[in-house]
Amino acid sequence: MSTDSASRGEPILQASSLVKTFGRVVGLDGASLELYPGEVLAVIGDNGAGKSTLIKCLTGAEVPDEGEIRLEGRRVHFKRPQDARAHGIETVYQTLAVAPALDVAANLFLGRELRKPGPLGTVLRAVDKKRMRRQAREELSNLGIKTLQDVTVPVENLSGGQRQAVAVARAAAFGSKVVVLDEPTAALGVRESRQVLEMIAGLRDRGVPVILISHDMPQVFEVADRIHVQRLGRRAATISPRTHSMTDAVAIMTGAAQGSAS
């Protein structure tokens, strides 16, 4: 991995020796992770290996007890998801975290609504629906998302794949630095999962680094550049789908084999 990292330059996102305990339960026990520009890094691990906790620390949903997180080399402290977001780390959750009653455009801008120019926006805090809808259309076509034709449809009228497309678009739009996808296909059917995988590949092609948490080995081996294997609260290994097989990955996950630990 050392040769790999040399060719990739500095990591854009780096976590070192993160520790997180919940009462007596140890979620993370010195976990580290590096994400390099322009790559899809998959994070796999058995249940309870600390995948979710690791990701939550990176996205501000949890605050690690110890260890440090660096974004573009600078140390960052995320207290809330908004903090991570403000730094350009966007997350897509398996639960299709969208507001069902709001339309596609409103969901894309949820939590960062555009205001109308002039006193209407600054004093009366009115949102600029037209501008948000126009920009939403632009962002969707930039991302090559063709499944969403109409940005004025309430999200609850969309299929699961379309909803996840909304969530991915929200994460990838507006110049984010890192997109984290937490089991993005867990709630989806086969065809819809395929659309999401294509979106992930599309993000990488646009130079947006992606962290993908997934249980689905074939998916991981198809789309990932590198695979971070989490075990017992730490990183057991980081492997490449080119040099390792799915059997190797499972062996490292379960502790049957030692990974070429980094």
Partner: protein, 345 residues
């Protein structure tokens, strides 16, 4: 499909075509889902037509004026209730807060001799304080709104009686500003009170805020799916706290309207209006599960209750049967809401 909608916005026409149109029934369900105020509007029109046919006096200007005045207080309480129910909460204390606020307004001016604007300001402070209290318990201590407001209902009720000594303050003893909300003016032969106008202004303002500001969108998002809203970067607790504060301020206005309406401030008038306000919200198509509904639906709901009570009593129906009818309305409204939601989830 667009010709079926009588909602004003035409920008949804494209979206309508996007919906599935497998059966006429599911089309109706989609329509109601999209515009929750449609069903109460139909009920109100039907009720007005029926009661107008039953009794000529129903549609007389003087009677319509009476209905509007009867609706003013409940309608304002229901507006506060709508905000809370949109966040999947419920507020049992709205009536008690209003009564406490009205007693403070009246006593501060009449017994303590404070200027009327100061008295109204104190009433507003009571409303905001009550909202802050409920909001604190819901957001910080994470108690269910039902329990919080059941407790605060009793607390505010006791405070009202302790503070007022159970005595009513007559409107004749109050400065004119306090009973201003009961003053009438005439448009097209129908008498409107200032209180009715204040209620309508509040409705217009809140409708614009809920539709046109980020805060309004966050209220819907937080009520629909709090976890999704949080993950989208919305501070759900802050939205909830602001909802209870806003509701408290609206309740203070309701207290003012109530003083004008009954030309008195009494610790015994209006305590039971908490249930009427919930009734108006539910009949108005706002979902008790949060995230769906409009303030206009609530206004229609309040009008439906007012029209039912007034129309049935004009038709000579026993007051107990009026209550019976309102009860049936509630159950039908909630059943319709369940049916609409089931088709979607």
């Amino acid at each position: 499909m667009s010709q079926q909608t009588n909602a004003p916005a035409s920008e949804h026409d494209l979206a309508e075509e996007f919906l599935d149109r497998s059966t006429p029934l599911s089309a109706i369900r989609n329509l109601l889902h999209r515009y929750p105020a449609v069903s109460p509007a139909i009920v109100l029109i039907a009720a007005v037509a029926v009661f107008g046919g039953l009794n000529d006096r129903f549609l007389e200007p003087s009677n319509l004026s009476l209905v509007s005045q009867q609706v003013a207080v409940v309608g304002t309480l229901a507006l506060a209730q709508t905000l809370i129910i949109l966040t999947a909460g419920i507020d049992l204390s709205v009536g008690a807060v209003m009564v406490l606020s009205s007693m403070v307004i009246a006593q501060a001016t009449v017994q303590n001799g404070l200027p009327a604007p100061v008295g109204i300001g104190l009433g507003l402070a009571v409303g905001l304080g009550a909202g802050a209290f409920n909001g604190f318990l819901v957001t910080r201590l994470k108690l269910p709104p039902f329990i919080v407001t059941l407790g605060s209902l009793n607390i505010f009720l006791a405070l009202t009686l302790l503070y007022s000594g159970g005595a009513t303050v007559r409107g004749g003893d109050m400065p004119g500003l306090l009973t201003l909300t009961g003053e009438t003016f005439t448009i097209g032969g129908v008498n409107f009170t200032v209180g009715v106008v204040m209620m309508l202004v509040l409705y217009i303002a809140l409708a614009m805020i809920l539709q046109g500001t980020a805060w309004g969108r966050h209220v819907y998002a937080a009520g629909d799916d709090p976890e999704a809203a949080r993950l989208a970067g919305i501070s759900v607790q802050r939205v909830l706290a602001s909802i209870y504060l806003t509701a408290g301020a609206i309740l203070a206005v309701a207290a003012w309207i109530q003083i004008g309406r009954s030309n008195a401030a009494s610790p015994n008038i209006g305590i039971d209006l908490n249930l009427d306000s919930i009734t108006a919200v539910v009949i108005g198509g706002t979902s008790l599960f949060g995230g769906r509904g409009t303030v206009w639906g609530t206004l229609l709901g309040a009008l439906i209750v007012g029209v039912f009570r007034n129309g049935l009593s004009l038709a000579g129906v026993d007051v107990l049967w009026q209550t019976f009818a309102v009860g049936v309305l509630i159950i039908v409204a909630v059943s319709v809401d369940q049916w609409i939601r089931k088709g979607r989830k």
